[in-house]
């Protein structure tokens, strides 16, 4: 888990340093592929939503090797997602958009190992959130 955490942290740092508009491009991709999720994002302005997304993502990456933290925090995420009407299939949509956007931002520094690490981590987290929901 430690290596995975390191890969995630490094690739996220590359992404955020390389692409100032990373959160926007993530949402653009998600909304373009799955416009049906757009109405779920009405509580926050787009700018605030992007900041929240990047903050949460960084926080989860920082704690990906901390099962206690994940158990506690993912429970809260599950509860809020339930109230927004998020369905299990949507987690796959978000995962695809997220990993594709990060891969694109990392450019030449994106590797098979990085892709595997993100897919593995995302699957574990999504499964945990769905289970808690």
């Amino acid at each position: 888990m430690k290596d995975l955490a390191k890969i995630l942290r490094e690739t996220l740092e590359i992404t955020l340093a390389a692409d100032d508009s990373f959160p926007k491009r993530f949402y653009d991709r998600l909304f373009s592929d799955h416009p049906e999720v757009i109405p779920m994002f009405h509580r926050n302005s787009p700018g605030a939503q992007r900041k929240l997304f990047a903050q949460k993502l960084a926080m989860i990456v920082d704690h990906v090797a901390d099962p206690e933290w994940l158990d506690r925090e993912l429970g809260k995420v599950a509860a809020s997602h339930r109230s927004y009407g998020v369905t299990p299939e949507m987690y796959a949509w978000v995962g695809d958009a997220l990993i594709e956007t990060i891969g694109e931002a990392c450019g030449a520094e994106w590797s098979d190992a990085a892709e595997r690490a993100w897919k593995e981590a995302y699957a574990k987290i999504a499964t945990a959130v769905i289970a808690k929901g």
Binding site: E13, A17, R43, N44, A54, Q55, A58, D62
Partner: protein, 478 residues
Amino acid sequence: MPEGSPASEEELPWERDRKRVAPRVPHLVLAWSLDEPERLGESIAVDRRLTVGRGGPLADDPAPRAVPVRFRPGEVRPCDPIDCSRIARVHLTAEPKDGGIRLRSLARAELRIDGRTETDGIAREGDVVELHNAAVFLVVSRPKTPAPFRGDPPVFSFGSADPFGIVGESEAAWALRESLAFAAGTSRHVLLFGESGAGKELAARALHGLSNRARRPLVSRSAATLPASLVDAELFGNAKNYPNAGMPERPGLLGEADGSTLFLDEIGELPESSQTHLLRVLDGGGEYTRLGESQSRASAFRLVAATNRDESALKHDVLARFTHRITVPGLANRREDVPLVLRALLARIAAENPSIASRFFERRRGVLAEAKIAPSFVVRLLRHRFSHHVRELDRLTWLAIGSAEDDYIGVTEAVDAELDDADSGGHAEITKDALEKAIAELGHRPTQLTKALGLKNRYVLHRLLKKHGLSEPRGGDG
């Protein structure tokens, strides 16, 4: 212990701090944050080598992890770890060096110190440190241990306006609060010094609000607005039908301020004769005579006067009647407060202008949240030499809003022309002579003058003309 020894001297209270100079520590004070705008004013005290990064400590941190603090008189309160996605987990190390801070970048994101891109550099007091699109800090020197507030400190949340509307967490802002509280607890007259726009009226209101006269309304007037021929009537009032039939009886400012506070702004503008009359009242314990009356009256007022002039502009004997003299600091003496004041001004603007709020502010859970401010705007404000302080900051904020082409508050062309910056067009070398020569040749034609003088734009020209008193009589921004 033998008498006169150093040890016995130290037991005398007036000897305790005689030779002690309070050590100071450079702080990185948060001035802008992408993800945590609510934490402006928090700082990192760089008293040793520290790791600066997102989140709590890591096993492989190169040095102990920096903990942001809220620094106030008598209190250094540790805060949560940095939670900004764009600040790397291990972003940089900071260590004290030659009175400044040596910063070594360990992250991919660009580090700028006072406008220069660096990977290893020294930030000195007053320098602006930028972590690209993540955070902006100002380097400020602060005491290692903050002295306690003498008296009861006002209670308000960190970075917000205090109960009297004064915004600031700097040493200067807190020193002002302390001086006002001390003076308010006495019945003596107070003279406020401070440049135009620094907030003298706000300070006077705070002083009144803190005093035992607060139950009665403050009487406020600017001496500059008193017509020269009516100054005494305005100050002392007049009897009915004096000096002309039909003239109503007026209590005058002194009468109105009985039991309260009279705030007389720009007292330096009072004619000397009126200063002398006022002096007599101050000497006579508030005894005065209304114009047209023979019997004297008494007013238990406290005078809080203000001036943006030097002490020498006031008659020496008038000056001597002000027991307390308090200087309201300008923004140059509390630069770390600029982002906090900006935030407070924007909040007021948003509250009064829903269309501005919806365009320039984020919304979280349906509620108005932080303003969308470009970091470059804050950087430029931190480097600007304000001549009219909070009033000027307010004007610049409105200018940024009014000239914005997008939905954020940034450095537009119009704002750029108003702000000091070594990189903003090299107009510093253009002298009045050069301007006059160009005007003589080309006339007041902005486009031609801008081009001939090699200026960045016509706003820069306008500013230069204004600075040298060469604006066209009609004025305007064109």
